[in-house]
């Protein structure tokens, strides 16, 4: 079975508002999946359903064949799904090493072991020199990297990254892209939720596009970029019409 995560007909409502309606797609092992869409498309809601902060009102989410729709965020982490947050949620009062240790403790209950594991992960993410710094003293891009490192320390098979590239400059986006590619090489499945298309398109193996709570497209980046509904969703009717004329 090559599909590590299956989103099956997921629907989420807030009162009368439907944030996600019947969304389905599958995530293959070891791939990078981009989840994109304009503001208010329902990306974050879907992300929160997958990471179990919300439980879907309809449909199912399967992880390695198991239904995780009603799991808790900590539960799925123990099962092997790590995640980061849109707005960084590092432990600000702790040091860099301690932050990563909190993740490492999940599979290494002893402090010595956890510290070793954390140092390893820290080295991988380029934090070797900054182990004893207070996390709050890092730059935003470093903080985002720390969050990924921390999640990686829990030893996940799937990593959910929420708007990892938002707020970063071009140089930092490059670094982030390198990091994601490196993670894929190590066999991790990644789901990237991004508002900015530029960050995701070059690296994603598959892209799922949401608009207005519905899935409007799914496919390789190339396929998706030329999808009419995607263009319409991102650039509106006018642009869509103009482009039509040009190609015609």
């Amino acid at each position: 079975m090559n599909e590590i995560l299956v989103i099956d007909n997921v629907t989420k409502r807030f009162g009368g508002l439907i944030a996600n309606s019947n969304i389905s797609f599958a995530v293959e092992r070891g791939k990078i999946i981009g989840l994109i869409g304009p503001n208010g498309a329902g990306k974050t809601t879907l992300f929160n359903c997958i990471s179990c902060y919300y439980s879907a009102d309809g449909g199912k989410i399967l992880y390695e064949g198991k239904d995780i729709t009603r799991e808790t965020p900590d539960g799925i982490c123990r099962m092997g799904i790590g995640q980061t947050f849109q707005i960084v949620r590092i432990f600000r009062e702790m040091t860099v090493l301690e932050n990563i240790m909190i993740g490492a403790f999940l599979r290494n209950p002893g402090r010595k072991k956890a510290e070793e594991k954390a140092s390893e992960v820290a080295a991988l993410f380029g934090f070797s020199e900054k182990l004893d710094l207070k996390a709050s003293s890092l730059t935003i891009s470093e903080q985002k990297r720390l969050e990924v490192a921390r999640a990686m320390a829990t030893g996940p098979k799937v990593l959910l990254l929420d708007e990892m590239m938002a707020g970063l400059n071009i140089h930092e986006i490059r670094e982030a892209i390198d990091l994601v590619l490196k993670l894929r090489e190590s066999g991790i499945t990644l789901i990237l939720v991004e508002h900015v298309m530029e960050g995701v398109m070059p690296i994603a193996d598959k892209v799922v596009v949401l608009d207005d709570g519905e899935k409007i497209a799914e496919g390789t980046p190339d396929e998706v970029v030329y999808n009419d509904r995607v263009i319409q969703a991102y650039f509106g009717d006018k642009y869509h019409a103009k482009r039509r004329k040009n190609t015609a």
Binding site: S51, T72, P73, D74, G75, C77, R78, G82, Q83, T84, F85, R89, I90, F91, R92, E93, M94, E98, M101, I102, G103, F105, L106, P109, G110, R111, A114, R150, A151, T154
Partner: protein, 314 residues
């Protein structure tokens, strides 16, 4: 770290030797109270300082510990040491029953819910005929012995028992801080959602912290009952007791092992002396001074005196 250990050992050695040099009972009593509050302060620090859940209900555990021992001894003649263990058991039970729903509440909601719980426990004991209701329980005077946990001619054994309790509490706290528990508690305090995302069941870990806190407080309740030999709801399950525990932890430094001990060493003598020297005329000046100290500490030094101490020594 080495230096810290030396200071700690010297401190304990001084406490052990002190009664051999100074025989005056009042300062001994004072030290007993300091160590008792220090132990409870450490208990509070685990839930409040490390795990960041501000509890104003810890007096309930103190009361449960004191009452369990007193009821078992006065009604069934059960040895107070067994009462102490059973007190810990019942306190843990209360911690679970109360903690499970309360930990869904955040920040101020949690703090006020714990006030409500503490008050409810007090009302229950005030009206519970079996437990002596408002009259409370006079603990039967037994022969003086360690086994009976009663000493009438000297305070010395009480002194060493509470010293051992303090040492035990410090060890528990040390073990917590250096293990996964301590890290998880701090993570939960720092960012609960972040902690959840790393596989920490925050509800369960908060409960663990609450139970540890309950046990350390309950032991002190038993000690108090055997020390004063008379308990009633107003002096064992009092909101102000809970508040004093927070103040002690705050003065010393939140989430620092030694913080509550320092806090108790400052707070208890401060209240004693302002009371003795300023309070006897009932002028309220003692309260004013005491309040100003708390405000200044909270405003200027949120990390407590331990923070100042650690800074100057490093």
């Amino acid at each position: 770290m080495k230096k810290g250990l030396v200071i700690l050992l010297v401190f304990f050695a001084a406490l052990v030797i002190y009664p051999f040099i100074f025989k005056n009972p009042f300062p001994r009593h004072l030290l007993i109270m300091i160590m008792l509050y220090g132990t409870m302060g450490i208990g509070w620090n685990i839930i409040g300082g490390y795990a960041g859940q501000v509890s104003f209900g810890n007096a309930a555990f103190f009361g449960v510990g004191a009452y369990t021992t007193a009821i078992l001894l006065s009604k069934y003649g059960i040895n107070p040491w067994i009462g102490m263990l059973l007190g810990c058991f019942f306190s843990s039970l209360v911690a679970v029953i109360v903690g499970y729903p309360c930990f869904r509440l955040r920040g101020h909601y949690f703090a006020i819910a714990t006030i409500a719980v503490g008050e409810i426990v007090q009302i229950l004991f005030t009206n519970w005929e079996y437990a002596g209701a408002a009259v409370g329980i006079y603990i039967p005077i037994l022969e003086e012995s360690f086994f009976n946990f009663q000493f009438h001619t000297t305070k010395l054994p009480y002194y060493y028992i509470v010293l051992a309790m303090l040492a035990f509490a410090l060890l528990v706290c040390y073990a917590v801080e250096k293990s996964r528990l301590g890290y998880y508690f701090r993570a939960i305090k720092d960012d609960p959602e972040g902690a959840r995302s790393l596989g920490i069941n925050i509800q369960n870990y908060k409960l663990v912290a609450f139970i540890l806190s309950a046990i350390l407080t309950s032991v002190c309740g038993t000690f108090y009952a055997m020390y004063v030999l008379y308990i009633h709801p107003a002096n064992t399950i009092d909101l102000w007791l809970s508040i004093h525990l927070c103040i002690i932890a705050l003065i010393g430094g939140l989430g620092k092992i030694f913080g509550p001990v320092i806090g108790a060493f400052i707070f208890i003598p401060l209240t004693e002396f302002t009371r003795v020297y300023l309070g006897s005329e009932g002028q309220g000046i003692d309260l004013i001074i005491y309040a100003l100290i708390i405000i200044l500490l909270a405003t200027l030094r949120p990390q407590g005196l331990w923070g100042i101490f650690a800074k100057s020594s490093s």
